[in-house]
Symmetry: C2
Amino acid sequence: MVKLENSKLSESVSNKNITTSLSDCVVNLDHGDPTAYEEYWRKIGDRCTVTIHGCDLMSYFSDVTNLCWFLEPELADAIKELHSAVGNAATEDRYIVVGTGSTQLCQAAVHALSSLAGTHPVSVVAAAPFYSTYVEETTYVRSGLYKWEGDAWGFDKKGPYIELVTSPNNPDGTIRETVVNRPDDDEAKVIHDFAYYWPHYTPITRRQDHDIMLFTFSKITGHAGSRIGWALVKDKAVAKKMVEYIIVNSIGVSKESQIRTAKILKVLKETCTSESESENFFKYGREMMKNRWEKLLEVVKESDVFTLPKYPEAFCNYFEKSLESYPAFAWLGTKEETDLVSELRRQKVMTRAGERCGSDKKHVRVSMLSREDVFNVFLERLANMKLIKSN
Amino acid sequence: MVKLENSKLSESVSNKNITTSLSDCVVNLDHGDPTAYEEYWRKIGDRCTVTIHGCDLMSYFSDVTNLCWFLEPELADAIKELHSAVGNAATEDRYIVVGTGSTQLCQAAVHALSSLAGTHPVSVVAAAPFYSTYVEETTYVRSGLYKWEGDAWGFDKKGPYIELVTSPNNPDGTIRETVVNRPDDDEAKVIHDFAYYWPHYTPITRRQDHDIMLFTFSKITGHAGSRIGWALVKDKAVAKKMVEYIIVNSIGVSKESQIRTAKILKVLKETCTSESESENFFKYGREMMKNRWEKLLEVVKESDVFTLPKYPEAFCNYFEKSLESYPAFAWLGTKEETDLVSELRRQKVMTRAGERCGSDKKHVRVSMLSREDVFNVFLERLANMKLIKSN
């Protein structure tokens, strides 16, 4: 059985319970619980409040004329309007498939593409370092349809394959394109995971228009508890198979979450042209991330043992200026030969091991989206760390 | 690829769109969309209204001290209180696992039990006629962990197996117990699906206390759009594996749906001791179902070609009197040698083919939970039907 990445969360103290004696607590930055944005949504007040009556949203069906009949029409509208306002993805001539988070959608897409392939199992790859959850998602049911083949760098197996491209990448924040390039191969399929392709994290340099693009509500606004993601899918047969997967997997997606997401995305769209940082969520988010990254870079610079990737500036079409990247995760490395995840655990800081992301012991993934006090405790502990050399 | 049972829904007219010219429309009673109860919830007014602010429910986590850390504590409380008030299931010394409908939980349970088994694939069986969706749920990912082996009657394969027991049964409403009985076999596992074990459908004759019991919000109150189900699980290792499955499958379950379900279940519990039919949901539901079943039985009696199962009366501990069963589906049969699903389709009535439930062409499953006007159109068409003999 695969090692499950979130299962250990319940065994440690989460952000939620850290209120009083934070200094003694384990701080969990292993997962990417995006609680950093709560403050913004508290300040925005009743504009995002939804009221649901006892007789609302009872049917399985949202729109029987839609291929994705469990998608609430107002959510579909809000998704299209937001992408149009931000300019990060094309929505025209595409099917929108809603999912219980992009987690369910990624599996739906892998299922759909491999179901439609001529031979099985279809290889699934991602360039290291990759989102460690991809490993679990493609192995836990031991499907005969597809097979996780690990790192896309050096992948040369014949036959159908699916490459998962995450850009900006989780865990290391780099801008990614496909690595296994077989342009004339009909059996080469790509799923683009754009969870972090939003202007608070990265410059919006182009309007993406790939075959299958995944987005998640969790990482845009921080509403992870809603479990809402969406896929923009060009091919009808693929969209249909994804819908079929979600029907058998969970007979659709929570209507309550969908209408709340619709409301919040609409507010996001309305406020995203505002010059005010307290009003415009992306401005607010960018400032917060900038502030955190500057603090982290300062600690890393002072330490002389830690490393962080460097990101090039790029012109952001949304902010209309050249900007830095402030990824949702820090891909923290060390110059020493040491097991960094264990070293950090000793300091009561939980992070994700680089090895789980197809990398090495010298790297860990650290969430940058915790609550402010938790982030500050992390910085303090990092600044005070003395590494033990191993081999 | 398996035939997907709900995918064809989008191609026909659903209840939702039937308003004006119902007489010409296709009425879809294939699925069990439980819209029959909307009227009750409309009348109950603001007692079930939930208001959710923009900054609420943002984290992945509901309670990090709970094995099922994505379960909202107020939902756990509401579930326990309702079972206690109705007396249909034991909740003490059990883990509650919440799922995106009992659909996700059934797969989580099959996954958990087979993951923990010594050899693979584990056989999965259900006594015919069975819930046709079980076939899709256990085949669509082509898992190497388990294998659908069909009808439990006559199943004699050696090795580990899981029997799915639905009681009252979907599609035929009968009270079920295990069919493959290997009491001394450690490899014999059972999942009890109690979706319909509520007092509006069937007499509550005992407080169930099996190892794994599944329930769904959809069929109790009709809130199918919320996608909430729960499992009561005795064994910690099984509960843990189920939680792991749900983490990888969808990283938990919509918080919005959970808190709304909690609110509605609490109202259900508060009103379930009331003598008033307009107040007590189970009284209301039972009267509505009684009325529908009496009308259907009348049509069937008049026709002389259709058949329906007979259900024995039993003493209901909840209503404290001897009562009939009024199942959520009618298991309609015909005395003629005919393909009943096609005959009904010709009359623009969509039903589920008996063959898909492991039975024959002479039977279909008909939802009894549609809106009233749709149900009446069905009765009218059934009364006017002339069957064409085949063979």
